[in-house]
């Protein structure tokens, strides 16, 4: 706890709480925490107006480490708690930190509904494709055939793709970044915080204890140029070390074109954050046949739940000639004895 108010210019240190960080050494969560703490002073939101809410899981310890208001709640329910807080306190900047198990398994329903309502909160979903806190069972984003303690012969169910789920719920801001890509991660989270409405950010996060290297095909330094497709609004979908590959439409599908071998830059798709159909197609791309898109898939404007709710209340207050309690009690037919 600190006694100073936030009048002075804040630094990263102001957002570091006095609690020891207890993630496993080498966990991808450290990097995410550092980027968020670094970014916070630049967002122009007072520390006391910032609230981090989480559920249960490794990622959900996040609020303890932020020197803001925080609420470490119960498994899967952070979006619901955040909705109640933001709807009744639109003046606050509300963040939800969740994981693939917390957000897409036990809390899947709440995640869908916070997204469709477009409550003005920022959701960071740390996807490590495993249950870490309970020591290594497969998660709803684990690839089919995943061998874990709970699936010794391999999992038989198909995974969810967080970005596709968010787009299906018509989330107004959907993005992906990577724990170790400090600059990209900061830029994406900054965009998320600036977006009015629900911002959904999937962060590919390495659990070095129970699922080490789950995303190494995407994140490895020497491979990433070939395996990441960095999305930029209004720019063609180009990737590759030499920026010599791109994505174009072929019928109803996307395909990779080699710009050195007959492909032309003018055939390539131009990224458009407003185009829902394109965002959906992009969300299905994954290695090995495609690079994994990172960046902002979709960003559109829609009225937010909290602002619309507040507007209804304000309008009702304006319209009511007399909103004192006695008037309320005496509504309808009354009689005197």
């Amino acid at each position: 706890m600190s006694e100073e108010t936030t009048a002075a210019k804040l630094t990263r240190k102001d957002f570091v709480s006095d609690q020891d960080v207890r993630w496993c050494p080498g966990c991808g969560d450290y990097s995410i925490l550092a980027q968020v703490q670094r970014l916070m002073p630049e967002l122009g939101v007072e520390r006391e107006k910032t609230v981090f809410i989480s559920g249960i899981g490794c990622s959900s310890r996040f609020p303890y480490y932020m020197n803001t208001y925080g609420f470490h709640s119960i498994h899967g329910r952070a979006p619901a708690i955040a909705t109640g807080l933001k709807a009744s306190r639109p003046d606050l900047s509300v963040w939800v930190v969740t994981g693939d198990g917390d957000g897409l398994s036990i809390g899947g329903n709440h995640l869908l509904h916070v997204l469709r309502r477009n409550v003005d909160v920022n959701i960071l979903l740390f996807n490590n494709r495993i249950y870490g806190l309970t020591k290594g069972q497969y998660s709803p984003t684990s690839e089919r055939g995943k061998v874990t303690k709970s699936t010794p012969l391999g999992s038989v169910d198909f995974p969810l793709h967080p970005i596709t789920v968010a787009l299906g719920a018509e989330a107004t801001f959907v993005a992906r970044s990577i724990d170790v890509e400090a600059k990209h991660l900061q830029a994406v989270i900054r965009r998320a915080s600036e977006h009015r409405g629900t911002s959904f950010v999937e962060i590919l996060q390495n659990c070095n204890i129970f699922n080490d290297g789950a995303f190494s095909d995407i994140t490895d330094k020497d491979r990433k140029a070939e395996s990441q497709l960095v999305l930029e609004h209004g720019k063609p979908l180009v990737f590759g070390k030499e920026r010599d590959k791109g994505i174009r439409m072929s019928g109803h599908k996307l395909e990779v074109v080699d710009l050195n071998n007959g492909g032309s830059e003018s055939d390539l798709l131009i990224h458009d954050e407003q185009d829902a159909a394109l965002a959906f197609l992009l969300s299905t791309l994954q290695p090995p046949s495609f690079p994994a898109p990172v960046g902002v898939f979709r960003a559109v404007d829609r009225p937010t739940y909290d602002a619309s709710m507040a507007a209804q209340v304000e309008k009702a207050k304006e319209k009511a000639a007399n909103a004192d309690l006695d008037a309320l009690f005496n509504r309808g037919d009354t009689w005197e004895v």
Binding site: M1, S2, E3, E4, T5, S17, Q19, R47, E48, K49, T50, V51, I53, P63, Y64, M66, N67, T68, Y69, G70, F71, H72, S73, I74, R77, P79, A80, I81, A82, T83, G84, L85, K86, A87, S88, R89, D91, L92, N109, H110, H113, M309, Q312, V313, A316, K317, K319, A320, A323, L325, D326, L328, F329, N330, R331, D333, T334, W335, E336, V337
Partner: protein
């Protein structure tokens, strides 16, 4: 009983009348009952109602499963229950007759819609012969009225489809009974005009049929006598008729206004609690925020989020919803934030009897969470009492930084009675003190008297802190797994709730201060127990009635009161839940009386049990 003749019809005075409207669930019986109730309230009678409807919105028309009923007891004297048996039964079809006629005493008045007794309907109601002709109704005063035909006649020049015209039949029944008991139909006419302002032809149809029913009673040579029930002598003041759910809603709004805080309801529709959502949603001008969540869990989660932000937070539900909310309620216990949980109980287990009443969630409210997790429980005794108990629940929640159960039930929720309207300025204060000062602030530093922790809401500079469901340090609130700290926290949470006894006024005992029998109740059994107690007292029995509003903690004087009577009887609409708590708490040989039929106690059922305990077996 005296008689006088006015306009060729006798008017007979009665002290009390019980009337039951029964028909198909599509026949509008609840509406007819509600308006008869309103007319009766405006006539100054004391009253009590019992709506009784099927869970299916539209069971197949004409079947026994589809019968919906509304019972009203009104009187020139004090009354406490909707009445054990109807004196008058209005049956709109054979199925309604079949389901209800068994409750009608000999010589009771039975009004039926003659045209509905077709062969087909008689068969659907599982009669072999028409009950109108087989002599089975001989012991009643039967009035066969052509309600369908007279309704259609009244509307025949309006060019409305038959289906639409048929929908007004309930207004004929209402008009007729309004005449029979000399009720003024003006308020109902006003309501029709307001309700159907945008559908003038429907308004006109309902007006016409209502008047046709009234005039039929007055002029047709069918009814020779009308009845009059004089106004009751009740405490002076301004009154309105109110259901439990409306009263609870107003209590919540009032408490939030008095606390000068936003009211936030997070909820999910469920019978019989949804009317709290509907009522609150229509009062946004009082700074009321209602959130219809995606499920029960999100409803209470959002409420808890709002509590963290400094709102008066409420979630409303029924038993199945409490099961889903348990984990969040426990989180509220752990993070010590104020939250009112309105459980409008219904028959269970599981989906059970959604539209029928029961008091069987007491153990669930008391113990239905993992670990040692004390939550205060308050229960209203009557529909109007829902106002003050909901208000008190908010006050306790804030003062003690705790979730609080408001344990109502379907009978209170939908039942109505006259409510003496309070003056807002005279309501008790609801004090709120948000922590502002960072100096010496610790999230779990407790108030010495109440043991509650400070309410430090986001937006307050210098008080940034984290709360959560993990066990926390006694002072700082930081995560702590230390063994002794955990025991200290479990104990202090228990002591905090136990300390709420200081808020409980002395228990009122109606009857002798000591004697042969104390009938102890909680919640909606109030009316039946009070009526039974008075009946027994009138026979000279040394019987008293005490009714507790606080169930957790129990009133501090209760133990001593229990010792002053030879026997203690605890009637409950469950298999014996409070009685179990009392036996465990006080080692008293309290005896339970259970009823689990989805219906309130009849007065006679309690009297019979009391007499058997008093050694007076009839």
């Amino acid at each position: 009983m005296q008689s006088e003749t006015v306009a060729e019809k006798a008017i007979e005075e009665r002290d009390r009348v019980v009337i039951r409207f029964a028909g198909d669930s599509g026949d509008g019986m609840q509406l007819a009952g509600m308006h008869f109730t309103n007319e009766t309230a405006l006539a100054g009678n004391d009253l009590s109602t019992l709506p009784d409807f099927p869970a299916e919105i539209r069971a197949p028309a004409g079947t026994l499963a589809g019968v919906s009923g509304f019972q009203l007891h009104f009187s020139s004297l004090d009354i406490f229950t909707p009445g054990d048996q109807p004196d008058v039964l209005v049956a709109m079809n054979p199925a309604a007759l079949k389901v209800n006629v068994g409750d009608l005493p000999s010589n009771g008045i039975l009004i039926v819609d003659k045209e509905q007794f077709t062969d087909q309907n008689i068969k659907k109601a599982e009669f072999t012969e028409s009950p109108l002709t087989d002599g089975s109704l001989d012991r009643y005063q039967v009035f066969e009225v052509s309600i369908t035909k007279l309704t259609l006649n009244a509307l025949n020049d309006m060019g409305l489809p038959t289906r639409t015209m048929m929908r007004s039949r309930n207004f004929f029944a209402l008009g007729l009974t309004s005449w029979l008991f000399q009720r003024d139909i003006e308020p109902t006419l006003r309501w029709i005009d307001a309700k159907f302002a945008k559908k003038p032809e429907i308004a006109e149809a309902n007006r016409r049929v209502l008047k046709a029913g009234y005039n039929y009673g007055e002029t047709a040579e069918v009814f020779r006598t009308a009845y009059k029930v004089k106004a009751a002598e009740i405490a002076p003041g301004r009154y309105r008729n109110i259901t439990g759910n409306t009263a609870a809603s107003l209590g919540l709004i009032a408490a939030a206004r008095r606390a000068d805080l936003r009211l936030f309801l997070g909820t999910y529709p469920i019978t019989p609690a949804s009317d709290i959502l509907h009522e609150l949603a229509s009062h946004k001008e009082y700074d009321v925020y209602t959130f219809q969540a995606e499920d029960e869990i999100a409803g209470v989660g959002a409420a808890l989020g709002a509590a963290f932000g400094g709102a008066v937070a409420v979630t409303s539900t029924s038993g199945p919803g409490i099961c889903l909310k348990s984990e969040t309620i426990n989180l509220a216990v752990s993070v010590e934030l104020p939250l009112v949980i309105a459980d409008i109980q219904r028959g269970g287990p599981s989906t059970g009897l959604p539209t029928k009443t029961e008091q069987a969630d007491l153990m669930l409210a008391m113990y239905g969470r993992n670990s040692d997790s004390p939550v205060p429980i308050l229960a209203p005794a009557t529909p109007a009492d829902c106002f003050s108990v909901a208000y008190e629940a908010v006050r306790i929640a804030i003062r003690y930084m705790t979730p609080v159960f408001f344990l109502s039930d379907g009978y209170l929720a939908n039942g109505a009675e006259p409510w003496r309207i309070p003056e807002a300025a005279k309501l008790p204060p609801v004090e709120v003190e948000f922590r502002k000062d960072p100096k010496g602030f610790f999230p779990y530093l407790r108030n010495r008297e109440t043991l509650s922790r400070p309410w430090a809401i986001p937006g307050t500079p210098g008080l940034e802190h984290r709360v959560g469901g993990i066990e926390k340090d006694y002072l700082t609130g930081n995560v702590s797994y230390a063994p002794m700290n955990h025991e200290q926290m479990v104990r202090v949470r228990a002591r905090k709730i136990a300390g709420i006894v200081r808020e409980i006024p002395p228990t009122e005992v109606n009857g002798p201060a000591e004697g042969d029998l104390l009938i102890l109740g909680w919640g909606s059994t109030y009316g039946s127990i009070e009526s039974a107690t008075r009946a027994l007292q009138a026979e000279g029995e040394k019987v008293a009635h005490a009714h507790i509003r606080f169930i957790n903690p129990l009133p501090p004087d209760l133990n001593e009161i229990l010792t002053r009577y030879e026997r203690v009887l605890v009637p409950e609409l469950n298999m014996g839940q409070l009685v179990r708590m009392l036996r465990a708490e006080y080692l008293v040989d309290a005896i339970g009386l259970s009823k689990v039929q989805g219906q309130p106690f009849k007065v006679s059922e309690i009297v019979r049990k009391a007499k058997s305990l008093l050694g007076k077996n009839q």
